[in-house]
Subunit: 210 residues, 3 copies
């Protein structure tokens, strides 16, 4: 799949950098060695896209092209160097915004590839979500944590809304490029609002108390 | 693969409902938010079948058809609502029997799809087991637990015996429909007996003490 | 892929035995039941190769041929019996060397299959590593542990160096058989030296202190 939209390629690069950085910092905080930290960075950055490709039965792009892993390695180096200079690297505004850019870019490739493989509406949402949050989930599993997307934060939800908006646009007759723009803008906007407003989903055990 | 046996389609629906319900209740007990609970429900219901399809190199049926996920969503809603009215929802007899029905239906699709893809006898057993218990294993991993099928219960064992009986029937000349009936009956019967008798497998550390 | 090198087939058998034994002993130590222990043994022995095949979009060899699982079962039986006679079975020299032989053989099949599927240099290294350490990582995840390859030991690193040497040989014009021999020897030698010298990678949090 060729991306004609240059903005999209830039978003993808920002996302790979941010995801690799966040994953590496997580690993350093968990006291992993250099290799472990690098693996966590690579997994966080490339895990979602690899899952997306495997789910639609393709040899993962991450194994065929060297571009993405090279970008991820830059993010890993930034993390290893930066973690000694900036205390709360992953909470830095630049990282939070870059992470939202990445979530948005990744979810959109998931929706696009799902669409071009003819999956169901649910399949589009799953691929948007898996591409966006897959890497972070694997990183948390490797660190023996309950994936943060399950416990807190309006994070995976953004990709679900984004995948849903992609599908709504296409079922109203828009082409996939328009749907992609809608998906990317939706994920990014909802994510930033969620961070700013500290949104959280209700817990089912309290639902009936409301 | 078209299922001609209507009984089988009904079993599959019961299984999807029961698995989604059990997974969602588990997630609620673990204090996940609404999305987390729904994801756990979907993963428990669809994880096994998705694994089965990926193992034989097909785009997962769960991403192509909207039927199964819709059924799973019903199970999730039942869990979210029911958990406030019934204390020990997952231990309720109706849930235990439905779960056994699902285990039986899922294991049987695994054996059938393995057979139609020409895998080895071991492959048939693995696919029966992965389809039957895969969803529950993923749910436990996401909840940071040792998968219950590894620690206790005569659960995965039922699918192994079922897959084995499928293979025995076919290697004695029966057709795959007969093998499927044998597999389904075996898994269901063995599972119910195991629950009733509270069977557990011996632990290797005590084997030589016997 | 036919292996013409008999030495390689022997290495593969030794590796399957060692990996199955190590995985089973781990499971027994974690108090799993007989089935759980057997599953851990099978997963440790066959998990890496299965991952390798899925990543290049093939139905896993482990599901098509009965040879490898039969060898793994022998390793599992050895573990269940041996664990009662030898206290520190997994630290026994014979097991450590056999494990290194397996790591070497598995990493090499990963590099070879990556090469024949035309993946990138990074893809070759990922496939060498995934084939070598995948089984152990899954076993640790099932036992709810941070995978040991991430926390300590010069283990996964050996497969990375091996995959890298495979790629260097091929990019200098060597054929894949020569590259395979180079990869196998590199992984085995580096692994044994690492065990003997108790090598560990530095942790990023201490990197700048050096």
């Amino acid at each position: 799949m060729k991306m004609r939209i240059d903005a999209f390629a830039v978003m993808n690069i920002i996302g790979l950098l941010a995801f690799a950085l966040v994953g590496t910092v997580k690993a350093i905080d968990a006291d992993l060695d250099l290799l472990g930290a690098a693996i966590l960075g690579v997994v966080t950055a490339l895990g979602g896209g690899t899952t997306r490709d495997l789910l639609v039965n393709q040899v993962p792009n991450s194994l065929q092209s060297s571009t993405d892993v090279t970008i991820a390695l830059v993010g890993i180096v930034l993390a290893v160097v930066g973690v000694h200079f900036i205390d709360e690297l992953v909470d830095h505004n630049a990282v939070v915004v870059s992470d939202a850019v990445g979530l948005s870019a990744f979810a959109t490739t998931g929706a696009l590839i799902g669409h071009s493989n003819g999956v169901s509406p649910f399949g589009i949402i799953v691929l948007a979500m898996a591409t966006g949050v897959g890497g972070g989930v694997y990183a948390d599993i490797l660190l023996r944590r309950i994936p943060f997307v399950l416990k807190e934060d309006f994070y995976a939800t953004c990709t679900i809304i984004g995948g849903g908006s992609f599908w709504i646009f296409l079922s109203t007759g828009a082409d996939s490029q328009t749907g992609a723009v809608a998906c990317a803008l939706t994920v990014f906007t909802v994510r930033l609002i969620a961070v700013h407003q500290e949104w959280n989903l209700p817990k089912p055990s309290h639902v009936t108390d409301i």
